[in-house]
C-alpha cells in the first residue's frame, strides 16, 4: 500500500482496526477460547465441571483451574462480557476492513475499459497471437462475432487500418467479498434483535392444562398475550422397541376466551402464533399424577358393538354387550414381566403403559390380567369380547420450547445474502480482454491480451476457445 504515514490518533486507531493482523488475532482468540467452552459444560453443574477438570488435569490442579475458569466466566463463556467484546471487536474490524478497501475496489469496478497500446497486450499473463488470412476490415467482423458468441459485449475503435476491441465481464463480482462481510454483520444484528426483543423459554404443559406464560431462565415468567392448551399428547414407538418414532402434542390457542387455532406439533413441525413459536422438545410424567389420570377404553362385544368408557384408577366399568364388570386394580407406566413372572415397572416414562383389570360376573371372578396399550394381543378377553386400551389421559406433560425472535428473519436474510456473496466471491471473476487486429501484407495479425482476478485457468481456456473459433471461421470463409 502506498500511503503516507498517518500520525493523528484517529488515523492510528483506524489503521489498527482495519488491519488484517487484528482480524487474525480475533479469529485465533475466538477459536481458542471457544475450545475451552466446548470442554467445560456451559451453565452446567459445577461438580460436573470439576470432575471434567479432574479427569483432564488430575486431582491436584483441578480445584485451582476451576476457580480460575469460574472467575473468568468460562462456565458460561459465550455470554460473558469478554466474549461479547470479542464478537463486537470482530464486527468492528470487519466493517472497518471492508470500508478501508471498498474505495479501491469500487474504482476498479467503475473504471471504464478502453483501448490499450499493442505492446501492453503482450504483457498480460494471458497473451495470444495468431495470423488470419484477410484484411482487418473483414477479420474484424469475425472477431466481433466470436466475442458475441463468448458473450462479451465489446467496444471497438478503428486505429488507422487496425482495429481494437476491448471488453469485460463480471466486474461486479469484485463486490462479492463485501456482500459476504456485510452479511456476517446482518446476521449479528439479527442475533442482537433477537436477544433484545425476543425471549427463549420452556413450558411443561400437562395434558388438559392451560398456560399463558413460559419460563425463561431459572424463574422469569414471560407472558404470551394469549393462552395455550395441551389437548393431548402421544408417543409412537418403533415396532416393539422403546425408541420413540414420533411424539406429538395437540395444542389449542385461546385468546379472550375464544379458541383461535388448533394444531398438532411434532419435532421439526412447530406452531407459531403472534410471533411466538412452540416447539415440541420433550415429554414426561407429571409428578404425583400417576393415579389421577383418565383411562380411555373401547370395549367391544363379541358381535362388534363398541362403547367408549373413561374410568379412573380403582373404578369399574361395564364391558359392552356382556354382563362383565371390569375393575381397574393397578397401573404401570412401563410394565415388564421379569423371569420369575413378577410384574415390575422399569421406567419413569410411559414406555409401556399397562393396566391390571379384574373382571367379574355375578360375584364370580372368571379372569383378570394385564392389558397393555402397545400390545393389542392383550386386549382380547377369553370370552371373545375385547377391551382396547386407547389412552391414559392427563398424566403426561408435553415439554415445549417457546421462542419469540423478531430477529430471525434478519438472520435468514443475512444467511441468504452470505451464500450469494460467497458464490459470487468464489465462483465468479472479473474478466477483461483486449484484442488488436493489425494489418499485414495479405493477412491480419490478431493479438489478444486478457486478465482475470480469479480462476485464470478457466479464462485461459475460454480465450483459447475464442481463438479456435477465429481459426475455423477463417477456414470456412475461404
Amino acid at each position: 500500500m502506498e500511503q503516507q504515514k498517518n500520525n493523528t490518533i484517529a488515523d492510528k486507531i483506524w489503521d489498527f482496526l482495519s488491519s488484517v493482523k487484528l482480524a487474525i488475532v480475533i479469529f485465533a482468540l475466538i477459536s481458542l477460547t471457544s475450545i475451552i467452552g466446548t470442554i467445560l459444560e456451559q451453565k452446567g453443574d459445577p461438580e460436573r465441571n470439576l470432575e471434567i477438570l479432574t479427569r483432564l488435569f488430575g486431582k491436584f490442579l483441578a480445584p485451582t483451574l476451576f476457580t480460575v475458569s469460574e472467575k473468568l466466566g468460562f462456565m458460561d463463556m459465550y455470554h460473558s462480557w469478554w466474549f461479547t467484546g470479542l464478537l463486537v471487536l470482530f464486527s468492528v474490524n470487519l466493517v472497518i476492513c471492508s470500508l478501508d478497501r471498498l474505495p479501491r475496489i469500487w474504482k476498479l469496478v467503475h473504471e471504464p475499459i478502453g483501448p490499450l497500446p499493442e505492446e501492453n497486450l503482450r504483457k498480460f499473463v494471458i497473451s495470444r497471437e495468431i495470423t488470419i488470412k484477410g484484411k482487418p476490415d473483414t477479420v474484424k467482423d469475425t472477431v466481433a462475432s466470436a466475442l458475441r458468441k463468448a458473450r462479451f459485449h465489446a467496444g471497438e475503435v478503428q486505429e488507422e487500418k487496425d482495429w481494437m476491441f476491448y471488453a469485460q465481464r463480471g466486474k461486479y463480482s469484485r463486490l462479492g467479498v463485501f456482500i459476504t462481510h456485510f452479511s456476517i454483520l446482518i446476521i449479528l444484528i439479527g442475533a442482537m434483535i433477537g436477544i433484545r426483543f425476543g425471549f427463549k423459554g420452556y413450558l411443561n404443559l400437562p395434558e388438559g392444562d392451560v398456560s399463558n406464560v413460559a419460563l425463561s431462565g431459572t424463574d422469569r415468567e414471560v407472558p404470551f398475550g394469549f393462552e395455550i392448551r395441551c389437548d393431548n399428547f402421544n408417543v409412537d414407538f418403533y415396532g416393539r422397541s422403546d425408541m420413540p418414532k414420533e411424539y406429538r402434542s395437540w395444542l389449542t390457542v385461546i385468546k379472550n376466551g375464544r379458541e383461535i387455532l388448533r394444531k398438532s406439533i411434532a419435532v421439526n413441525d412447530p406452531l407459531t402464533y403472534e410471533g411466538i413459536t412452540f416447539y415440541q422438545s420433550s415429554y414426561g410424567i407429571v409428578p404425583g399424577s400417576l393415579g389421577q389420570g383418565i383411562f380411555v377404553f373401547n370395549t367391544i362385544s363379541r358381535d362388534g358393538k363398541s362403547t367408549t368408557v373413561n374410568p379412573r384408577l380403582g373404578e369399574s366399568f361395564q364391558v359392552s354387550g356382556t354382563a362383565l364388570t371390569a375393575k381397574i386394580i393397578d397401573f404401570s407406566p412401563a410394565l415388564r414381566i421379569d423371569e420369575h413372572g413378577h410384574a415390575a415397572t422399569y421406567a419413569n416414562q410411559m414406555s409401556n403403559p399397562a393396566v391390571f383389570i379384574e373382571f367379574s360376573e355375578g360375584g364370580k371372578n372368571p379372569f383378570s390380567g394385564w392389558i397393555l396399550k402397545r400390545h393389542p394381543e392383550t386386549w382380547q378377553l377369553p370370552d371373545g369380547s375385547r377391551v382396547e386400551f386407547i389412552d391414559y389421559w392427563g398424566v403426561e406433560f408435553t415439554g415445549l420450547q417457546v421462542r419469540k425472535d423478531p430477529g430471525v428473519w434478519v438472520v435468514y436474510f443475512g444467511c441468504i445474502s452470505m451464500s450469494l456473496g460467497l458464490f459470487i466471491a468464489f465462483f465468479m471473476s472479473h474478466r477483461r480482454l483486449w484484442i488488436k487486429v493489425v494489418e499485414e501484407k495479405n493477412t491480419s495479425r490478431v493479438i489478444i491480451g486478457a486478465t482475470a482476478n480469479k480462476n485464470r485457468a478457466a479464462f485461459e481456456r475460454k480465450i483459447d476457445k475464442i481463438l479456435s473459433i477465429l481459426g475455423k471461421q477463417q477456414e470456412g470463409g475461404k
Partner: protein, 360 residues
C-alpha cells in the same frame, strides 16, 4: 442381492486400487495407471449402487418417503458417503490435472476408512431415526457438509504433500510441523490398533473410547508400561523427524510440482469453504431453528464447525490479502483438516465421553 454386497465390493476395489497405484508410482508404466483408475471407477460405481440400494432399503423400511430416507444418519453411513465424495473429487482431479499419482495418496484414505468401519464395531444396521432427524434438511445439510469435508481432506493431502516436498532442513519449523503431525497420526493409529487386537472387542465407538482406548499403552494400569509407551511414542516421533526426507524422495517420484500442489490445495478449499458455509453452518442453523427454536446455541458441534470455518477463513484471507503462499498456508490447510476431523468425529466420540452430547 442387497447393498452390503456392493459395499464389500467397493472396499475391496479401493484397497486393490491402492496397491495398483503404489505399483504405478514405483514403475511409472502408464498401462498400470490405467488399470488403477479402472479399478477405482469400478469401486466408485459399485459404491454408488450400494448407496442407492441402501437408500431404497431405508425408504421401504421406514415408509417416510425417498427424500427423508437418505442413508446419512449414523457414523457408518456418513463415513461411506465421505469416502464416496473423496473418490469422486479425486477422479475429477485426476481427469483435470491428468495426473494419477495422487491416487496413491487418496485410495489408502478411502480403503483405510472403509476397513476402519469394518474393524471397529460401528453398527451397520439400518437404524430407525430419532424424531429430530426426520427433516428434509437432513439431506441438504449432511450431503453438503460431507462434500465440503471431502474437499477439505483433498486440501489436507495436497497441503501435506506440499510440505513434505518443499521442506529441506530438519530445523525448519514447517518440517518439524509435518513430521510431528504425521508421527502423531501414526502413533495414534498404531496404539489404537494394539487396543483392538488386545481386547478383540466389537463395541460402539463411544464405549470403546471410554473404556478401552489406550488401555494397552498410555493408560495401562501399570505405570511401567505407561512410561514405555510414552518413550516409544516419542522415539517414533523422533524417527519420523529424522527420516522424513525419505518420504520426500518418494513423493518427488509422483511427478507433481509444488505449484500444482499449492494450486490444488487452494482450489479444494475455495470449493469446500462456500459449500461448508452454506450446507454445514447455514443449513444446520436453519434446521436447528426448525427443530428446537434456536439457530445457534454454542453447543460443541456448532462451536467446532465455527472453529473450522475460522481456520479456513484465515487460510483464504492470508492467501488473498497478505499474499502468503507456500509453506505457511499449507500448514494452515493441514490444521484446518484436523479441526474438520475433530468436528466430525472428536465432538461425538471424545467430548461425549466428557459430557453427554446429543441427548437433547
Amino acid at each position: 442381492m442387497d447393498s452390503s454386497l456392493f459395499f464389500g465390493l467397493s472396499t475391496m476395489a479401493y484397497i486393490s486400487a491402492m496397491m495398483v497405484y503404489f505399483t504405478y508410482v514405483a514403475f511409472k508404466k502408464s498401462q498400470i495407471g490405467v488399470i488403477a483408475t479402472g479399478i477405482t471407477i469400478i469401486g466408485f460405481i459399485s459404491q454408488t449402487f450400494a448407496i442407492i440400494m441402501r437408500w431404497k432399503e431405508f425408504a421401504d423400511l421406514s415408509g417416510m418417503g425417498f427424500l427423508r430416507s437418505a442413508p446419512l444418519t449414523n457414523l457408518y453411513e456418513s463415513m461411506v458417503f465421505f469416502v464416496w465424495c473423496l473418490i469422486l473429487g479425486y477422479l475429477i482431479i485426476e481427469f483435470k490435472f491428468k495426473n494419477r499419482s495422487f491416487g496413491a495418496f487418496i485410495t489408502p484414505i478411502a480403503g483405510l476408512a472403509l476397513a476402519f468401519i469394518d474393524l471397529t464395531g460401528v453398527s451397520k444396521e439400518i437404524q430407525p431415526l430419532v424424531p429430530a432427524l426426520k427433516s428434509n434438511w437432513l439431506l441438504a445439510h449432511v450431503t453438503m457438509s460431507f462434500i465440503a469435508y471431502a474437499a477439505f481432506s483433498m486440501s489436507f493431502s495436497t497441503g501435506l504433500m506440499y510440505l513434505i516436498t518443499t521442506t529441506e532442513k530438519r530445523s525448519e519449523s514447517a518440517y518439524i510441523f509435518w513430521t510431528i503431525t504425521l508421527g502423531l497420526f501414526a502413533v495414534l493409529l498404531v496404539s489404537m490398533g494394539i487396543d483392538f487386537f488386545t481386547f478383540k472387542v466389537k463395541v460402539r465407538p463411544e464405549i470403546f473410547i471410554h473404556s478401552y482406548l489406550f488401555r494397552t499403552s498410555f493408560l495401562h494400569s501399570s505405570s511401567v508400561i505407561n512410561i514405555i509407551s510414552y518413550v516409544l511414542a516419542i522415539a517414533a516421533l523422533v524417527l519420523v523427524w529424522r527420516y522424513g526426507y525419505i518420504l520426500r524422495t518418494v513423493i518427488t517420484k509422483f511427478n507433481v510440482t509444488p505449484d500444482m500442489l499449492d494450486e490444488i490445495t487452494y482450489r479444494s478449499i475455495a470449493v469446500g469453504f462456500p459449500i461448508f458455509t452454506l450446507g454445514g453452518l447455514i443449513f444446520g442453523a436453519i434446521w436447528a431453528d426448525q427443530a428446537w427454536g434456536v439457530y445457534w446455541s454454542w453447543d460443541p458441534k456448532e462451536t467446532w464447525s465455527l472453529i473450522t470455518w475460522f481456520i479456513y477463513a484465515f487460510y483464504l484471507h492470508s492467501r488473498m490479502i497478505r499474499g502468503w503462499k507456500g509453506k505457511k498456508v499449507a500448514i494452515v490447510a493441514v490444521m484446518g483438516f484436523m479441526a474438520v476431523i475433530f468436528t466430525y468425529l472428536g465432538v461425538n466420540l471424545l467430548l461425549s465421553g466428557l459430557h453427554a452430547y446429543g441427548s437433547r
